[in-house]
């Protein structure tokens, strides 16, 4: 099997059969999205890195739990969601709550070698992203998961229902409510 051209499901089946290199290819393909989703759910880059690592380790260790009847990505997103929620619960009980990191576009500052308008655009993009991330915080966990997986990851609603273990109708309701809340929170950004 050519690992680079195999589908996710073919790679997952190969991993179940004991072909270890399949895991490396799956990790390369999906570590970015696992991290990105974890970040959107936890609002903290370090936590997102921890979650992403935990998810990938779990994916390897629990590959028997994945069934070929469902897609590999929804299963991986379910692991991500569960790990992120677990972390958020632990964070509530920590003595000191972790701070959100500044967005790199803002944190890294201006490079003297960059074109000023590019830098301004980057800073502005970072500001918008920070606002959006803050707005995600007003959503309930279910609304946040649905919004992140639909808007950023492009999962179909049926796949999101699989991730959450609920009906498609429930996903639609959560999505609508998430959009309305975000719209209120980001009214000034939208209007500008």
């Amino acid at each position: 099997m050519n690992l680079t051209t195999a589908t996710d499901e073919e790679l997952a089946l190969a991993l179940k059969a004991g072909q270890d290199p399949a895991f490396d290819e799956l990790t390369r393909r999906h570590q970015g999205r696992v991290y990105a989703v974890a970040y959107r759910l936890t609002s903290n880059r370090e936590d997102a890195l921890d979650v992403a690592q935990d998810v990938l380790v779990k994916a390897y260790q629990k590959i028997e739990m994945w069934q070929p009847t469902s897609g590999f990505v929804p299963w991986l997103m379910r692991l991500t969601r569960n790990q992120a929620i677990d972390l958020l619960r632990r964070r509530k009980r920590r003595r000191c709550e972790p701070l959100d990191e500044a967005d790199p576009a803002v944190r890294d500052g201006v490079s003297s070698e960059r074109d000023l308008s590019d830098t301004e655009r980057q800073v502005r993009a970072g500001e918008i992203d920070a606002r959006v991330q803050q707005a995600l915080g007003v959503l309930s966990p279910a609304q946040r998961v649905v919004f992140v997986l639909r808007h950023y990851e492009g999962l179909q609603l049926a796949e999101i229902a699989e991730v959450r273990g609920c009906t498609v109708g429930s996903v639609k309701v959560h999505l609508f409510r998430a959009l309305k809340k975000m719209q209120v929170e980001l009214r000034d950004l939208h209007d500008s």
Binding site: G18, Q31, Q53, M65, R90, I128, C166, V173
Partner: protein, 343 residues
């Protein structure tokens, strides 16, 4: 338009903003929008709103594969295939000999609790987990508790029962139902250890919570209730009372940190220097020598574990040791500084 129709239409609307609807749904939505100009305006506004939100995701700036591989190598090997063989053998033993009890079966089956990551359709508990989550979102914590409690009671051997037990314990703890939380964590550890074995972070969290509850159980959880009251109030004196009444306990440790946060608005907990300053501010506002000693002890911990200044750590432990109730702990901590491995 009645409530049910509007709910269905808004669901279709949300879906249509991202996906192509099939024929029946598309027609139903169009009819709904034609009949309700307000809804149509809402649809257009939402469409523009979605277009305005960037879709870029944060980039992962490093390759996680080496670290993941290192962890997999370090952690106890998960016998993915050996486990299955053992489980099959166990089934054969139970069937052939009929000697093993229910508890032994649970011990022999390695993958006792895949938790909510497992196949949803095979589990009776998985939909109950979703129902409980919905109740939590609606702040109906009593209902969530009932659902989780019932789920574990009715389906104790379900693939997701361990996850339900974990959530039950966490919810009880968060809601201040401490006796139930202690019981639930104890049961989680004894009967659903699989949920913890596969997740070291969760295992550490549960161990910490259980230790805290076990200690507080000795005073009928009065210490934890006092902390809850102090957290809801505005008075630093309430935290000071906890440091005095429950000196040298885990609850007192939590109270020190809460007091430091309260004493310094905008504390950046990730900043060790800020943490030290906040604790000193809190200490300066205490009148009781026991409370002062308690904060000095925690300062010693911060200097030792985070700032890595062992001289200052020792200095603060020595100050804490001047108060009898903290002397043992402070002297043990001083001894830890003398051990080379701790550095």
């Amino acid at each position: 338009m009645n409530w049910w129709n509007r709910k269905k239409l808004t669901g279709l609307l949300a879906q249509s903003l991202y996906e192509e609807l099939d024929g029946d749904d598309r027609r139903a939505l169009e009819r709904g929008l034609d009949a309700d100009p307000e809804l149509r305006a809402e649809a257009e506004a939402l469409s523009q709103f979605i277009d305005a939100i960037p879709r870029e995701q944060p980039e992962l700036e490093r390759d996680l594969l080496p670290a993941v591989r290192a962890r997999l190598a370090d952690e106890s090997p998960q016998p993915r295939y050996g486990g299955l063989r053992v489980a099959v053998a166990a089934v054969a033993c139970v069937a052939a000999l009929g000697l093993f009890g229910y508890g032994m079966w649970n011990t022999l089956t390695l993958d006792t609790d895949p938790g909510a990551d497992g196949p949803v359709l095979a589990s009776s508990v998985a939909p109950l987990l979703v129902e409980a989550e919905t109740a939590v979102e609606q702040r109906n914590y009593t209902r969530a508790f009932e659902i989780l409690d019932m789920a574990v009671a009715e389906y104790p051997r379900d693939a997701s029962a361990g996850e339900a037990q974990y959530r039950l314990a966490s919810l009880a703890f968060e809601q201040g139902r401490y006796p139930e939380a202690f019981e639930a964590y104890t049961k989680l550890k004894s009967e659903y250890h699989g949920v913890l074995d596969a997740d070291p972070a969760r295992e550490a969290e549960v161990a910490e919570a259980r230790d805290l509850l076990e200690e507080a159980n000795r005073v009928s959880y009065a210490s934890l209730h006092a902390l809850d009251v102090a957290r809801r109030g505005r008075d630093l004196a309430q935290f000071e009372e906890i440091l005095v009444d429950y000196a040298a306990t885990k609850v007192a440790e939590l109270a020190v940190y809460d007091m430091a946060k309260r004493a310094s608005d905008g504390l950046d907990p990730a900043d060790s220097s800020a943490c030290v300053e906040a604790m000193k501010t809190a200490r300066d506002r205490c009148s009781s020598p026991v409370a002062v000693a308690g904060i000095n002890f925690e300062l010693g911990n911060v200097y030792r574990d985070r700032v890595r200044d062992f001289e200052l750590a020792g200095e603060h432990y020595r100050k804490a040791a001047e108060v009898p109730v903290l002397a043992q702990r402070a002297n043990d901590a001083l001894a830890s500084l003398a051990r080379p491995v701790s550095r």
